[in-house]
Subunit: 216 residues, 2 copies
Amino acid sequence: MRIAVLGTGMVGRSIAGRLDELGHDVSVGTRDPEATRVREDAGWFTDRPGIALATFAEAAAGAEVVFNASNGAVSLDVLGQAGADNLAGKIVVDIANPLDFSQGFPPTLFVKDTDSLGEQIQRAFPDARVVKTLNTMNASLMVAPGVLPESTSVFVSGNDADAKATVTGLLQQFGHQDVIDLGDITTARGTEMLLPMWLRLMGVLGTATFNFKIVR
Amino acid sequence: MRIAVLGTGMVGRSIAGRLDELGHDVSVGTRDPEATRVREDAGWFTDRPGIALATFAEAAAGAEVVFNASNGAVSLDVLGQAGADNLAGKIVVDIANPLDFSQGFPPTLFVKDTDSLGEQIQRAFPDARVVKTLNTMNASLMVAPGVLPESTSVFVSGNDADAKATVTGLLQQFGHQDVIDLGDITTARGTEMLLPMWLRLMGVLGTATFNFKIVR
Protein backbone atom coordinates (compact mmCIF):
# COMPACT_ATOMS: atom_id res chain seq x y z
CA MET A 1 0.00 0.00 0.00
CA ARG A 2 1.00 3.63 -0.36
CA ILE A 3 1.52 4.76 3.23
CA ALA A 4 2.56 8.12 4.69
CA VAL A 5 4.10 8.36 8.13
CA LEU A 6 3.90 11.84 9.65
CA GLY A 7 6.74 12.35 12.10
CA THR A 8 10.44 11.52 12.04
CA GLY A 9 10.92 10.65 15.71
CA MET A 10 11.49 7.20 17.16
CA VAL A 11 7.88 6.16 16.62
CA GLY A 12 7.73 7.43 13.04
CA ARG A 13 10.98 5.71 12.12
CA SER A 14 9.92 2.41 13.71
CA ILE A 15 6.68 2.41 11.75
CA ALA A 16 8.20 3.64 8.47
CA GLY A 17 11.14 1.26 8.64
CA ARG A 18 8.95 -1.75 9.27
CA LEU A 19 6.45 -0.82 6.54
CA ASP A 20 9.35 -0.43 4.11
CA GLU A 21 10.71 -3.86 5.09
CA LEU A 22 7.26 -5.31 4.47
CA GLY A 23 7.31 -3.94 0.92
CA HIS A 24 4.95 -1.02 1.26
CA ASP A 25 5.47 2.24 -0.62
CA VAL A 26 6.42 4.53 2.26
CA SER A 27 6.90 8.27 2.45
CA VAL A 28 7.74 10.06 5.67
CA GLY A 29 6.28 13.51 6.18
CA THR A 30 8.20 16.17 8.04
CA ARG A 31 7.93 19.92 8.50
CA ASP A 32 11.03 20.66 6.44
CA PRO A 33 12.43 17.70 4.46
CA GLU A 34 15.76 19.45 3.69
CA ALA A 35 16.35 20.25 7.35
CA THR A 36 15.55 16.65 8.31
CA ARG A 37 17.93 15.37 5.63
CA VAL A 38 20.91 17.39 6.84
CA ARG A 39 20.42 16.71 10.55
CA GLU A 40 23.14 14.53 12.03
CA ASP A 41 20.96 11.47 12.47
CA ALA A 42 19.57 11.69 8.97
CA GLY A 43 21.78 8.80 7.95
CA TRP A 44 18.73 6.76 8.86
CA PHE A 45 17.06 7.94 5.68
CA THR A 46 20.18 7.61 3.54
CA ASP A 47 20.33 3.96 4.59
CA ARG A 48 16.73 3.41 3.48
CA PRO A 49 16.50 4.71 -0.07
CA GLY A 50 13.05 3.17 -0.47
CA ILE A 51 11.59 5.64 2.01
CA ALA A 52 10.75 9.05 0.54
CA LEU A 53 11.14 12.17 2.64
CA ALA A 54 8.50 14.82 1.90
CA THR A 55 6.45 17.59 3.44
CA PHE A 56 3.46 16.56 5.52
CA ALA A 57 1.17 17.60 2.66
CA GLU A 58 3.13 15.83 -0.08
CA ALA A 59 3.34 12.64 1.94
CA ALA A 60 -0.38 12.63 2.75
CA ALA A 61 -1.42 13.55 -0.79
CA GLY A 62 0.08 10.42 -2.29
CA ALA A 63 -0.99 7.95 0.38
CA GLU A 64 -3.91 5.62 0.99
CA VAL A 65 -3.10 5.31 4.68
CA VAL A 66 -1.61 8.08 6.84
CA PHE A 67 0.04 7.29 10.19
CA ASN A 68 0.02 10.11 12.72
CA ALA A 69 3.34 9.47 14.46
CA SER A 70 3.76 13.02 15.72
CA ASN A 71 3.78 14.08 19.36
CA GLY A 72 0.22 14.26 20.65
CA ALA A 73 0.70 17.89 21.62
CA VAL A 74 1.27 18.90 17.98
CA SER A 75 -0.80 16.25 16.19
CA LEU A 76 -3.69 18.52 15.25
CA ASP A 77 -1.22 21.06 13.85
CA VAL A 78 0.72 18.39 11.94
CA LEU A 79 -2.45 16.93 10.44
CA GLY A 80 -3.58 20.45 9.58
CA GLN A 81 -0.32 20.96 7.67
CA ALA A 82 -0.93 17.65 5.91
CA GLY A 83 -4.20 19.24 4.83
CA ALA A 84 -7.82 18.23 5.28
CA ASP A 85 -8.17 17.70 1.52
CA ASN A 86 -5.22 15.31 1.52
CA LEU A 87 -6.75 13.34 4.39
CA ALA A 88 -10.32 13.18 3.08
CA GLY A 89 -11.43 9.58 2.60
CA LYS A 90 -8.04 8.33 3.81
CA ILE A 91 -7.38 6.06 6.75
CA VAL A 92 -5.63 8.08 9.45
CA VAL A 93 -3.94 5.76 11.93
CA ASP A 94 -3.52 7.75 15.12
CA ILE A 95 -0.82 6.30 17.35
CA ALA A 96 -0.12 9.46 19.38
CA ASN A 97 -0.87 10.09 23.05
CA PRO A 98 -2.08 13.35 24.60
CA LEU A 99 0.85 13.64 26.99
CA ASP A 100 1.37 16.90 28.87
CA PHE A 101 4.93 17.24 30.20
CA SER A 102 4.41 20.80 31.47
CA GLN A 103 4.31 19.63 35.10
CA GLY A 104 7.31 17.31 34.78
CA PHE A 105 7.47 13.51 34.95
CA PRO A 106 5.32 11.49 34.86
CA PRO A 107 3.32 13.51 32.34
CA THR A 108 -0.43 13.93 32.68
CA LEU A 109 -2.97 13.83 29.83
CA PHE A 110 -4.18 17.07 28.26
CA VAL A 111 -7.45 15.42 27.23
CA LYS A 112 -9.06 12.41 28.93
CA ASP A 113 -12.09 10.54 30.18
CA THR A 114 -14.81 12.66 28.50
CA ASP A 115 -12.86 13.14 25.25
CA SER A 116 -9.67 11.87 23.64
CA LEU A 117 -7.03 12.88 21.13
CA GLY A 118 -8.44 10.32 18.72
CA GLU A 119 -11.84 12.02 18.88
CA GLN A 120 -10.31 15.47 18.56
CA ILE A 121 -8.62 14.36 15.35
CA GLN A 122 -11.78 12.74 14.00
CA ARG A 123 -13.77 15.93 14.74
CA ALA A 124 -11.13 18.18 13.16
CA PHE A 125 -10.97 16.00 10.03
CA PRO A 126 -14.50 14.61 9.67
CA ASP A 127 -13.82 13.19 6.19
CA ALA A 128 -10.85 11.15 7.41
CA ARG A 129 -11.39 7.62 8.69
CA VAL A 130 -9.52 7.73 11.98
CA VAL A 131 -8.35 4.52 13.65
CA LYS A 132 -6.65 4.76 17.03
CA THR A 133 -4.19 1.96 17.72
CA LEU A 134 -0.67 1.02 18.92
CA ASN A 135 -0.56 3.89 21.44
CA THR A 136 -0.41 1.45 24.36
CA MET A 137 3.12 0.18 23.79
CA ASN A 138 6.71 1.14 23.12
CA ALA A 139 7.71 2.03 19.53
CA SER A 140 9.81 -1.08 18.96
CA LEU A 141 7.04 -3.39 20.17
CA MET A 142 4.53 -1.67 17.89
CA VAL A 143 6.23 -3.21 14.86
CA ALA A 144 7.88 -6.28 16.42
CA PRO A 145 5.72 -7.59 19.28
CA GLY A 146 7.30 -11.02 18.86
CA VAL A 147 10.33 -9.99 20.91
CA LEU A 148 8.20 -10.54 24.02
CA PRO A 149 8.04 -14.09 25.40
CA GLU A 150 4.35 -14.43 24.58
CA SER A 151 1.63 -12.88 22.46
CA THR A 152 0.16 -9.62 23.79
CA SER A 153 -2.87 -7.48 22.89
CA VAL A 154 -3.33 -4.44 20.66
CA PHE A 155 -6.50 -2.41 20.36
CA VAL A 156 -8.32 -0.61 17.54
CA SER A 157 -10.89 2.18 17.96
CA GLY A 158 -12.70 3.86 15.09
CA ASN A 159 -16.00 4.64 13.46
CA ASP A 160 -15.28 2.97 10.10
CA ALA A 161 -15.33 -0.84 10.04
CA ASP A 162 -13.47 -1.10 6.71
CA ALA A 163 -10.73 1.21 7.95
CA LYS A 164 -10.35 -0.90 11.10
CA ALA A 165 -10.14 -4.06 8.96
CA THR A 166 -7.37 -2.55 6.83
CA VAL A 167 -5.47 -1.41 9.91
CA THR A 168 -5.94 -4.83 11.53
CA GLY A 169 -4.31 -6.34 8.45
CA LEU A 170 -1.30 -4.05 8.85
CA LEU A 171 -1.08 -4.89 12.56
CA GLN A 172 -1.05 -8.57 11.68
CA GLN A 173 1.78 -7.92 9.20
CA PHE A 174 3.66 -6.31 12.10
CA GLY A 175 3.20 -9.56 14.05
CA HIS A 176 0.21 -8.79 16.27
CA GLN A 177 -1.89 -11.88 16.87
CA ASP A 178 -4.51 -10.49 19.29
CA VAL A 179 -6.18 -7.38 17.82
CA ILE A 180 -9.17 -6.31 19.93
CA ASP A 181 -11.74 -4.03 18.27
CA LEU A 182 -12.97 -1.83 21.12
CA GLY A 183 -15.67 -0.06 19.09
CA ASP A 184 -16.02 3.51 17.88
CA ILE A 185 -13.46 6.28 18.22
CA THR A 186 -14.74 7.26 21.70
CA THR A 187 -13.13 4.06 22.98
CA ALA A 188 -9.77 5.76 22.37
CA ARG A 189 -10.45 7.27 25.82
CA GLY A 190 -9.77 3.82 27.22
CA THR A 191 -6.46 3.21 25.49
CA GLU A 192 -5.15 6.75 25.99
CA MET A 193 -5.90 6.49 29.71
CA LEU A 194 -3.64 3.43 29.90
CA LEU A 195 -0.65 5.73 29.52
CA PRO A 196 -0.38 6.79 33.18
CA MET A 197 -0.21 3.09 34.07
CA TRP A 198 2.27 2.38 31.29
CA LEU A 199 4.58 5.15 32.51
CA ARG A 200 4.55 3.85 36.09
CA LEU A 201 5.12 0.28 34.95
CA MET A 202 8.10 1.43 32.89
CA GLY A 203 9.47 3.03 36.05
CA VAL A 204 9.23 -0.04 38.27
CA LEU A 205 10.02 -2.67 35.63
CA GLY A 206 13.04 -0.67 34.46
CA THR A 207 12.25 -1.34 30.82
CA ALA A 208 9.86 -0.23 28.10
CA THR A 209 9.83 -3.73 26.64
CA PHE A 210 6.58 -4.89 28.21
CA ASN A 211 3.01 -4.94 27.04
CA PHE A 212 -0.56 -5.48 28.15
CA LYS A 213 -2.15 -8.82 27.42
CA ILE A 214 -5.86 -9.25 27.97
CA VAL A 215 -6.27 -12.75 29.36
CA ARG A 216 -9.80 -14.16 29.00
CA MET B 1 -5.49 -12.19 60.80
CA ARG B 2 -8.33 -10.07 62.15
CA ILE B 3 -9.75 -8.43 59.04
CA ALA B 4 -12.64 -6.02 58.57
CA VAL B 5 -14.37 -5.67 55.21
CA LEU B 6 -16.34 -2.44 54.85
CA GLY B 7 -19.18 -2.94 52.39
CA THR B 8 -21.74 -5.71 51.84
CA GLY B 9 -21.99 -5.52 48.04
CA MET B 10 -20.64 -8.05 45.59
CA VAL B 11 -17.04 -6.95 46.14
CA GLY B 12 -17.30 -6.96 49.93
CA ARG B 13 -18.85 -10.42 49.95
CA SER B 14 -16.28 -11.84 47.57
CA ILE B 15 -13.44 -10.60 49.73
CA ALA B 16 -15.06 -11.51 53.05
CA GLY B 17 -16.12 -14.97 51.89
CA ARG B 18 -12.67 -15.82 50.61
CA LEU B 19 -10.90 -14.51 53.71
CA ASP B 20 -13.26 -16.59 55.85
CA GLU B 21 -12.50 -19.70 53.76
CA LEU B 22 -8.80 -19.01 54.25
CA GLY B 23 -9.28 -19.10 58.02
CA HIS B 24 -9.05 -15.40 58.80
CA ASP B 25 -11.14 -13.79 61.54
CA VAL B 26 -13.50 -11.69 59.39
CA SER B 27 -16.05 -9.06 60.29
CA VAL B 28 -18.07 -7.19 57.70
CA GLY B 29 -18.88 -3.57 58.42
CA THR B 30 -22.16 -2.07 57.27
CA ARG B 31 -24.12 1.06 58.00
CA ASP B 32 -26.88 -0.75 59.88
CA PRO B 33 -26.14 -4.41 60.70
CA GLU B 34 -29.74 -5.22 61.64
CA ALA B 35 -31.05 -3.82 58.36
CA THR B 36 -28.46 -5.82 56.43
CA ARG B 37 -29.39 -8.97 58.34
CA VAL B 38 -33.10 -8.74 57.53
CA ARG B 39 -32.68 -7.86 53.86
CA GLU B 40 -33.79 -10.61 51.51
CA ASP B 41 -30.31 -11.59 50.39
CA ALA B 42 -28.96 -11.68 53.92
CA GLY B 43 -29.03 -15.47 53.81
CA TRP B 44 -25.48 -15.01 52.62
CA PHE B 45 -24.46 -14.11 56.16
CA THR B 46 -26.62 -16.78 57.79
CA ASP B 47 -24.77 -19.35 55.67
CA ARG B 48 -21.41 -18.06 56.90
CA PRO B 49 -21.59 -18.00 60.68
CA GLY B 50 -17.88 -17.35 60.95
CA ILE B 51 -18.32 -13.87 59.47
CA ALA B 52 -19.46 -11.24 61.98
CA LEU B 53 -21.74 -8.41 60.89
CA ALA B 54 -21.02 -5.14 62.65
CA THR B 55 -21.10 -1.39 62.22
CA PHE B 56 -18.28 0.16 60.24
CA ALA B 57 -16.72 1.40 63.49
CA GLU B 58 -17.04 -1.90 65.36
CA ALA B 59 -15.58 -3.84 62.44
CA ALA B 60 -12.64 -1.48 62.04
CA ALA B 61 -11.96 -1.25 65.79
CA GLY B 62 -11.26 -4.96 66.11
CA ALA B 63 -9.23 -5.42 62.93
CA GLU B 64 -5.58 -5.36 61.96
CA VAL B 65 -6.42 -4.94 58.27
CA VAL B 66 -9.43 -3.02 56.91
CA PHE B 67 -10.64 -3.55 53.34
CA ASN B 68 -12.50 -0.62 51.79
CA ALA B 69 -14.99 -2.48 49.62
CA SER B 70 -17.49 0.37 49.46
CA ASN B 71 -18.47 2.27 46.32
CA GLY B 72 -15.81 4.82 45.51
CA ALA B 73 -18.36 7.63 45.63
CA VAL B 74 -19.03 6.97 49.34
CA SER B 75 -15.67 5.58 50.43
CA LEU B 76 -14.52 8.68 52.31
CA ASP B 77 -17.84 8.78 54.16
CA VAL B 78 -17.72 5.06 54.98
CA LEU B 79 -14.15 5.30 56.27
CA GLY B 80 -15.17 8.38 58.24
CA GLN B 81 -17.92 6.32 59.90
CA ALA B 82 -15.35 3.62 60.62
CA GLY B 83 -13.49 6.36 62.44
CA ALA B 84 -10.02 7.81 62.07
CA ASP B 85 -9.06 6.46 65.51
CA ASN B 86 -10.09 2.94 64.50
CA LEU B 87 -8.00 3.19 61.33
CA ALA B 88 -4.87 4.71 62.87
CA GLY B 89 -1.87 2.46 62.35
CA LYS B 90 -4.03 -0.08 60.49
CA ILE B 91 -3.56 -1.30 56.96
CA VAL B 92 -6.42 0.06 54.84
CA VAL B 93 -6.71 -1.93 51.61
CA ASP B 94 -8.50 0.32 49.15
CA ILE B 95 -10.09 -1.66 46.33
CA ALA B 96 -12.66 0.98 45.29
CA ASN B 97 -12.76 2.99 42.08
CA PRO B 98 -13.79 6.64 41.70
CA LEU B 99 -16.58 5.91 39.24
CA ASP B 100 -19.05 8.67 38.39
CA PHE B 101 -22.27 7.29 36.88
CA SER B 102 -24.00 10.70 36.79
CA GLN B 103 -23.61 10.94 33.00
CA GLY B 104 -24.69 7.36 32.32
CA PHE B 105 -22.68 4.44 31.01
CA PRO B 106 -19.77 4.09 30.67
CA PRO B 107 -19.03 6.02 33.88
CA THR B 108 -16.25 8.58 34.05
CA LEU B 109 -13.85 9.09 36.97
CA PHE B 110 -14.56 11.79 39.56
CA VAL B 111 -10.85 12.08 40.35
CA LYS B 112 -7.98 11.21 37.98
CA ASP B 113 -4.56 11.91 36.55
CA THR B 114 -3.40 14.57 39.04
CA ASP B 115 -4.94 12.85 42.07
CA SER B 116 -6.67 9.56 42.92
CA LEU B 117 -9.16 8.06 45.34
CA GLY B 118 -6.31 6.19 47.00
CA GLU B 119 -4.52 9.46 47.67
CA GLN B 120 -7.71 11.13 48.88
CA ILE B 121 -8.14 8.34 51.43
CA GLN B 122 -4.49 8.50 52.52
CA ARG B 123 -4.77 12.29 52.99
CA ALA B 124 -8.06 12.02 54.88
CA PHE B 125 -6.64 9.32 57.20
CA PRO B 126 -2.95 10.16 57.46
CA ASP B 127 -2.34 7.64 60.27
CA ALA B 128 -3.71 4.76 58.21
CA ARG B 129 -1.38 2.76 55.97
CA VAL B 130 -3.30 2.77 52.70
CA VAL B 131 -2.57 0.16 50.03
CA LYS B 132 -4.43 0.40 46.73
CA THR B 133 -4.91 -2.93 44.99
CA LEU B 134 -7.35 -5.30 43.23
CA ASN B 135 -9.34 -2.40 41.69
CA THR B 136 -8.34 -3.47 38.17
CA MET B 137 -10.44 -6.63 37.98
CA ASN B 138 -13.84 -8.15 38.58
CA ALA B 139 -14.83 -9.12 42.14
CA SER B 140 -14.71 -12.87 41.54
CA LEU B 141 -11.24 -12.68 39.96
CA MET B 142 -9.95 -10.63 42.89
CA VAL B 143 -10.16 -13.67 45.12
CA ALA B 144 -9.90 -16.50 42.55
CA PRO B 145 -7.67 -15.40 39.66
CA GLY B 146 -6.98 -19.05 38.89
CA VAL B 147 -10.25 -19.39 36.95
CA LEU B 148 -8.49 -17.64 34.04
CA PRO B 149 -6.47 -19.84 31.68
CA GLU B 150 -3.18 -18.25 32.71
CA SER B 151 -1.64 -16.16 35.45
CA THR B 152 -2.43 -12.43 35.33
CA SER B 153 -1.09 -9.34 37.13
CA VAL B 154 -2.24 -7.43 40.19
CA PHE B 155 -0.77 -4.15 41.40
CA VAL B 156 -0.06 -2.59 44.80
CA SER B 157 0.41 1.12 45.49
CA GLY B 158 1.21 2.57 48.90
CA ASN B 159 3.62 4.56 51.01
CA ASP B 160 4.31 1.86 53.62
CA ALA B 161 6.52 -1.05 52.53
CA ASP B 162 5.49 -3.31 55.44
CA ALA B 163 1.83 -2.73 54.68
CA LYS B 164 2.41 -3.61 51.02
CA ALA B 165 4.25 -6.79 52.06
CA THR B 166 1.33 -7.87 54.27
CA VAL B 167 -1.18 -7.14 51.50
CA THR B 168 0.99 -8.99 48.99
CA GLY B 169 0.84 -12.01 51.30
CA LEU B 170 -2.96 -11.86 51.31
CA LEU B 171 -3.03 -11.50 47.52
CA GLN B 172 -0.86 -14.60 47.24
CA GLN B 173 -3.29 -16.47 49.51
CA PHE B 174 -6.03 -15.45 47.05
CA GLY B 175 -3.99 -17.06 44.27
CA HIS B 176 -2.23 -14.09 42.68
CA GLN B 177 1.20 -15.06 41.39
CA ASP B 178 2.30 -11.79 39.77
CA VAL B 179 2.04 -8.90 42.27
CA ILE B 180 3.67 -5.74 40.89
CA ASP B 181 4.63 -3.03 43.40
CA LEU B 182 4.09 0.21 41.49
CA GLY B 183 5.47 2.48 44.21
CA ASP B 184 3.85 5.04 46.48
CA ILE B 185 0.14 5.80 46.73
CA THR B 186 0.30 8.33 43.87
CA THR B 187 0.67 5.36 41.52
CA ALA B 188 -2.97 4.56 42.28
CA ARG B 189 -3.61 7.12 39.53
CA GLY B 190 -2.35 4.54 37.08
CA THR B 191 -4.52 1.65 38.23
CA GLU B 192 -7.66 3.76 38.70
CA MET B 193 -7.26 5.10 35.15
CA LEU B 194 -7.37 1.54 33.82
CA LEU B 195 -11.08 1.48 34.58
CA PRO B 196 -12.28 3.25 31.41
CA MET B 197 -10.39 0.58 29.43
CA TRP B 198 -11.72 -2.21 31.62
CA LEU B 199 -15.31 -1.03 31.07
CA ARG B 200 -14.90 -0.94 27.28
CA LEU B 201 -13.21 -4.34 27.23
CA MET B 202 -16.09 -5.77 29.24
CA GLY B 203 -18.43 -4.39 26.59
CA VAL B 204 -16.70 -5.93 23.59
CA LEU B 205 -15.61 -9.18 25.23
CA GLY B 206 -19.09 -9.72 26.63
CA THR B 207 -17.71 -10.88 29.97
CA ALA B 208 -16.12 -9.48 33.11
CA THR B 209 -13.96 -12.58 33.45
CA PHE B 210 -10.80 -11.15 31.94
CA ASN B 211 -7.75 -9.49 33.38
CA PHE B 212 -4.63 -7.53 32.51
CA LYS B 213 -1.36 -9.41 32.34
CA ILE B 214 1.86 -7.44 32.05
CA VAL B 215 4.06 -9.46 29.71
CA ARG B 216 7.78 -8.65 29.99
